[in-house]
Subunit: 267 residues, 2 copies
């Protein structure tokens, strides 16, 4: 395919790219959109090249962008140049980044995970907010987690908001999606400690007996974890709650626990 | 005033309530909107009653709502009953909570803060995301912080999204807004250790020499803290970054540090 310019708003490629903001179209095409040179560079350095690279005509020259462009062309991908207005239409943002890319979605089956690859794994159940999801990926990257396992009906990890909030970690962390009834047998088929913040027979989260691989699980933003899921955990930990609230934001809870586990198990 | 019913979408009260979604109208009226029985109950139990309580006609009866209604009327406030559709129009949500309230904005001057009231204070500089802001308030409540100090141009703490993300902590945490050139002299006029996550001559965040009152500062989501602000800190701490990223989400960084400081200084 190589290179071409697009000047019309009604061009079918523009429509197809724009449609990637909808989950339905992402699933149908098996692709998703990531924006910004920094994210795309993180992707490239993590071994992910976009199938299609879209650049603004009026962009500033940038060495990293030239490298990216050359790599995409060398890999048989397509490079599209277009106006800032059309980029804005594609990404749905008023001030779009000067570049975005279309990536193939990854295999998100549990079978694709190698649990021995990391001491920490994050698990989210029915997490509805794509910002929280992306933030958990970002935190996972920071603590050296293996990835994020999404249980039941979570936000789409390939949505623009999740990808953006992940700050590139969508490309460095593994992501798996599974129903609880599939996750639990998978977990129990090997080593793995399932940990949740809970009020149930819980021990203080500081100095708790964490063991690798440690799977830190947080629940839905409003409802928390279902009781059955909590009961299936190996370790319940509590965090101090000094005020009126009895819970933390899900991504915050995951991060405070993950940093504690990192300290306990070593990096 | 007391009680009345509103049935028309074009009623001026509905328009005025709806306008509270805009910052301009919040500032002009000195009021803001909070939604949901749980949030309003937290508010009441923290000594904040709404000036106006708006309830759906088709609501389920609830003892806490009856108490709230009686308290608002006793305090000379107004109670409005209206349709779910009109509530939806006011809050801008498809599935609105059955109740919302209009509150007077609080005094957000530094002078209103008593720094000796808590060992931990959170400080955010140019924080743009209202969800992050609300999450910091929620974390502050959890760690027993005194409040959140917003430096320079931050998101509006009284926006619907910030109030919602705070999960009621907007009513339990103090909030101050100040320019840096006013904050720093205020800070230096009394006891207070200013701490930031930084790569600059930093010590590990675990076991760092925190001192109360400890002011934990995080910077803008994209740019971090300006160098000048960082240089004014008393303590620089680093958190492990095991992956590609060199930073955490601002609200996450604040929370991980705040829990560490809480452990160090005691609750």
């Amino acid at each position: 395919m190589s290179r071409r310019q697009i000047t019309g708003f009604s061009n079918p490629t523009v429509k197809a790219l724009r449609a990637l903001r909808d989950k339905k179209h992402r699933k149908a095409s098996g692709t998703f959109l990531a924006e910004g040179l920094r994210l795309l560079t993180d992707a490239r350095e993590s071994g992910h090249l976009p199938e299609v690279l879209v650049m603004a005509e009026e962009r500033d020259p940038h060495a990293l962008l030239s490298v990216l462009e050359a790599d995409v062309l060398a890999a048989g991908g397509e490079v599209i140049e277009t106006s800032a207005d059309i980029l804005s239409k594609i990404t749905g943002k008023d001030n779009p980044q000067a570049v975005c890319g279309v990536f193939a979605e990854f295999d998100t089956s549990l079978a694709a995970l190698d649990r021995s690859a990391a001491k920490i794994w994050l698990v989210a159940q029915a997490l509805r907010d794509p910002g929280n999801l992306g933030t958990m990926l970002r935190t996972g990257d920071a603590v050296g987690a293996g990835g994020l396992i999404l249980i039941d009906d979570c936000a789409d990890p390939f949505s623009a908001e999740a990808v953006r909030a992940s700050m590139g970690a969508i490309f460095t962390q593994k992501v798996a999606q599974a129903r609880w009834e599939d996750f639990l047998p998978w977990l129990r088929s090997g080593a793995g400690q399932l940990v949740a913040a809970s009020l149930r027979d819980a021990v203080p989260y500081r100095g708790a007996p964490y063991a690798a691989p440690c799977f830190i699980m947080v629940g839905n933003e409003s409802r928390g974890l279902p009781e059955e899921y909590e009961l299936a955990c190996d370790l319940w930990v509590t965090m101090p709650m000094k005020g009126r609230a009895d819970s933390l934001n899900a991504a915050v809870a995951a991060a405070v626990l993950a940093y504690e586990v990192l300290d306990s198990l070593g990096g």
